[in-house]
């Protein structure tokens, strides 16, 4: 039908226009900007230069990058260790409470992580709930200095990003065929072997997806180090925030963003490689 | 003269360099119940979709009511499809589902109400007009799917394996109902199935399709009793195949065959020449077996040993191994009082059939 073709063309035009303008173009501009210079009056000017990438070799930047990498890495690992059993248990539940429990995990996923990070302050500060409880139970004498340290940042990251690890693993575990586990047991595998050789490899796509969803934000959510780590705590996110909004050095900030995007693409390729056997590639 | 409501001439269909349909020539008569029968993957569903307009032929022409419909989209062809999964709109009531096509054609509301009520009466679902599909049983959903298509008064109704999702009993009931419905509606039905029993019991004519080619078109009786090729013979029903040679012919129809070193008289529907190699096909229910002592003149019979006796309730199937290791299946109606049917595994018997009940086919490898 002629009108059908019009409808289809119109829809596709709108979609492609939006995608081009607001998905493709911005990222291209970032790459271009990272290759430009800046001066007092213009945020981005010619000449093109690789200087920004060379500046990445600066020892301060490298230190910050390493620190972000380590903190984000440890947080991701802890999210995995804490979150995997949680996801596994819930995914395999048969009880009628399951949807309710699921809802309780989804709520933190969608609500403001700024608010939730702020809520942590009351718990971990020197006169906070955690310290009061520990002192009251006689476990420690002096309050632990958690707030405004790297530990606070890590707790904040784990607190905010744990749902992002749980949900992909959970969807993956739900699709796990129980018969495979039964077959392994039937052939004589104990629980540990079954877990190591059957369950982990089969849930690897979920693990990778969860790790991507935790690791990248962990490196770049700037308000968590800001409010929980204090003024001294600068991670990659704060660095980029600074470059764009305080130093007004957009090309430098773009260079950082480009590096981040490269890390993202690498992780995605890992995910694609791990799921290469699966025919149905769904969005997480 | 009976009109051809659908005609396919020289239709080919290929997808991704893979030929699905090869040189299809078919005439569908007005008012008939035609079944496209074939195993999975033979192309019968593709053929249906070519007629309905959801696929276009790679070459060849399709005519509906004498008009070439190449390039015409589905809804302009006056044919409608009933899908295997029924595809009822889950958010609409039965009434709205059936009225959908009429609404798209902008038929005035009073007429819609009347036509929908009529067709609901025909499928015996008058009281269900306000229900949603999820509140209906499988059989009822199917009747709604048929009603939805039929209310638009198509020239042909195309049904794509509509009964395959139903359980055995419901299938049997629906087969009878569909046949009656077709007569009541008076619309030509083109029905696709892989179930040969279904095809034989419901159709006016059967089109046997294998590997993209039409093997045979005929009434159920023709297709079953006079298969034109070995493929058709083996696809429909059980069959015993013997290799043979024509020894002599008389007036074209009566021939003398040599099978397994025995000479037998037979009838052929095609012209045969002496010395010609043929395949002889005999249905198990046409095979007769006798105990050795029961027969005096066994010149045209074969000796065999009973290998299996399978009691099936109404029939007893015997698997017999002949002297040259050919396996023959024989089916007899089980008669409680007839001792003759007490065969034991290992017994020696004579195997034969009434001359004329076999079908002689050209030799195929």
């Amino acid at each position: 039908m002629k009108t059908d073709n019009h409808f289809k063309s119109l829809s596709l035009s709108v979609i492609w226009a939006w995608m081009f303008l607001f998905a493709l173009l911005p990222f291209c501009l970032v790459i271009i900007a990272s290759l430009m210079s800046h001066n007092e009056s213009d945020l981005i000017t010619l000449p093109t230069t690789l200087a920004n990438y060379q500046h990445l070799n600066n020892s301060t930047y490298i230190r910050i990058f390493e620190k972000s990498f380590v903190i984000a890495g440890i947080s991701t690992l802890l999210c995995l260790i804490i979150g995997y059993p949680f996801a596994y248990i819930i995914a395999r539940m048969q009880s009628r409470w399951k949807s309710f429990l699921l809802l309780l995990v989804i709520i933190p996923f969608w609500t403001s992580s700024l608010i939730r990070s702020y809520a942590l302050i009351a718990i971990i500060k020197a006169k906070g709930i955690l310290n009061s409880l520990l002192i009251a139970f006689g476990i420690i004498d002096q309050p632990l200095a958690i707030l405004f340290t790297n530990y606070a940042v890590m707790i904040g990251l784990i607190y905010n990003l744990l749902p992002f690890m749980i949900l992909p693993i959970m969807t993956n575990v739900e699709r796990l065929d129980q018969r495979l586990i039964d077959a392994a047991k039937d052939l004589g595998a104990n629980r540990f072997t079954t877990f190591r050789k059957i369950i982990i490899p089969l849930t690897m796509p979920g693990i990778i997806a969860g790790s991507i969803l935790v690791f990248l934000p962990a490196m770049t959510i700037f308000y968590i180090p800001d409010i929980l780590g204090g003024a001294k705590s600068i991670m990659l996110g704060n660095l980029i925030q600074n470059q764009f909004l305080i130093s007004q050095n957009w090309p430098m900030g773009s260079a950082f963003s480009a590096v981040l995007t490269l890390i993202l693409v690498t992780l995605i390729l890992v995910h694609v490689w791990v799921t290469r056997g699966n025919k149905k590639r769904e969005w997480l | 003269m009976v009109k051809n409501v659908v005609e396919l001439r020289g239709v080919y269909k290929s997808l991704h360099d893979h030929e699905i349909l090869h040189d299809i020539n078919l005439e569908v008569r007005e008012g008939e119940f035609l079944t496209l029968l074939g195993p999975s993957g033979c192309g019968k569903t593709t053929l249906l979709r070519l007629i309905s307009g959801f696929e276009t032929p790679t070459s060849g022409n399709i005519f509906i009511d004498g008009k070439n419909v190449s390039g015409l989209p589905p809804h302009q062809r006056h044919v409608h499809t009933v899908f295997q999964s029924y595809a009822l709109f889950p958010h609409m009531t039965v009434f709205e589902n059936i009225a959908f096509g009429l609404r798209c054609q902008k038929v005035p509301l009073p007429e819609i109400k009347e036509r929908v009520a009529n067709v609901l009466r025909m499928v015996k679902l008058e009281k269900y007009a306000e229900r949603k599909p999820s509140q209906l049983s499988g059989g009822q959903q199917q009747r709604v799917a048929i009603a939805r298509a039929a209310v638009n008064r198509p020239r042909v109704l195309l049904l794509d394996e509509p009964l395959s999702a139903l359980d055995y009993r419901l299938r049997k009931t629906m087969q009878i109902e569909l046949k009656q419905l077709q007569r009541t509606l008076g619309i030509t039905f083109i029905f696709v199935t892989h179930d040969q029993e279904e095809a034989l019991s419901m159709s006016d004519r059967v089109v046997v399709i294998q590997e993209g080619c039409i093997e045979q078109v005929g009434t159920p009786r023709q297709v079953y009793e006079e298969p034109g090729t070995l493929k058709v013979a083996t696809f429909i029903g059980e069959v015993n195949i013997f290799a043979g040679e024509i020894m002599s012919t008389e007036n074209g129809k009566h021939v003398t065959l040599r099978i397994l070193d025995k000479l037998r008289k037979a009838k052929s529907t095609r012209p045969c020449t002496p010395g010609e190699k043929v395949h002889v096909v005999v249905r198990p229910e046409d095979v007769r077996v006798w105990n050795l002592h029961e027969v005096e003149d066994a010149t045209d019979m074969f000796t065999g040993t009973v290998e299996e006796v399978i009691y099936k309730g109404t029939t007893v199937d015997l698997i017999v191994r002949l002297a040259d290791n050919t396996i023959v299946a024989a089916t007899e109606f089980f008669d409680e009082d007839d001792d003759r049917l007490e065969y034991k595994i290992g017994s020696q018997i004579w195997v034969s059939w009434t001359p004329g009940w076999e079908v002689i086919l050209p030799h195929e490898d």
Partner: protein, 257 residues
């Protein structure tokens, strides 16, 4: 209750407590009649009253709600169009589009924020409501697409062919079949986009201007400068609002047609 179940239940409870205790503490302390101490000094509505008389906050709230409604609507419309087109049509670049959406979901917000900032500057778009609106629609669309598409693939795909067979044009199919069947998913997508917009800090930080104040950025600056009890009340309110939206969205998604 056997030991496995006991162990599992304990583990689950611990994690749930971990999630919710800070929030509960927050809400409880929003009623605490004291400025700084964590000791309970009695129940009070004081901070909520202060909150409601803060004119600046009201403006920011109104701005955020308006922005949220506009972004959610825009994102739901465009996202639905994309999901339906991806589902129904084969077109060149389809796989590329899939990949693009996948990358958008995973992309860190800071990169998206920076990229959009550069984009808007490139087009000389002043930073304010428009830049925020476009940015919010941008990051909400992938979630709408994923939610809507999952709902679409759960339908019997023959339904669309049946509709075409009966004479429906693509437009009619969209209006009479797709939209009604998708309405729970669209409702849920709208609500989820609204909460995403309401809570967004990072991207908004990059693309907002001084003229159009929004709530999350107000909260951020308040938290950094340390004016405490009002924040507790504000956060509690905002939290409860978003929880309501999320619960409604989940109920809608669970509904079968």
């Amino acid at each position: 209750m056997n030991t496995t179940t006991l162990r599992n239940s304990t583990y689950l409870s611990l994690i749930y407590l971990f999630f919710y205790i800070p929030i509960i503490v927050l809400i409880v302390y929003s009623f605490n009649n004291t400025t700084f101490s964590l000791v309970w000094h009695g129940f009070t509505w004081r901070w909520y009253v202060d909150l409601f008389s803060d004119g600046d906050l009201w403006i920011a709230t109104w701005h955020s709600f308006f922005l949220g409604i506009a972004s959610a609507t825009g994102a739901t419309f465009l996202g639905m169009l994309t999901a339906v087109s991806l589902y129904r049509y084969r077109f060149p670049g389809r796989n590329f589009l899939n990949g693009l959406i996948f990358i958008l979901i995973l992309s860190p917000e800071i990169v998206t924020g920076a990229a959009l900032l550069i984009l808007f500057t490139f087009f000389h778009l002043p930073l304010g409501f428009m830049s925020l609106l476009l940015a919010h629609i941008c990051f909400c669309i992938p979630f709408v697409i994923v939610t809507t598409y999952s709902r679409l693939i759960s339908f019997d795909k023959n339904i669309f062919e049946a509709a075409k067979d009966l004479g429906a044009s693509d437009f009619i199919i969209m209006i009479r079949i797709i939209l009604p069947l998708l309405s729970p998913a669209l409702f849920a997508s709208w609500l989820l986009s609204f909460t995403l917009s309401l809570d967004d800090v990072i991207i908004s930080y990059f693309v907002s201007g001084p003229e159009f104040q929004i709530l999350p950025l107000q909260i951020y600056s308040m938290v950094r400068s340390g004016i405490k009890p009002e924040i507790n009340a504000l956060c509690s309110v905002l939290f409860c609002v978003t929880v309501t939206m999320v619960v409604l969205a989940q109920l809608a998604l669970r509904k079968k047609t």
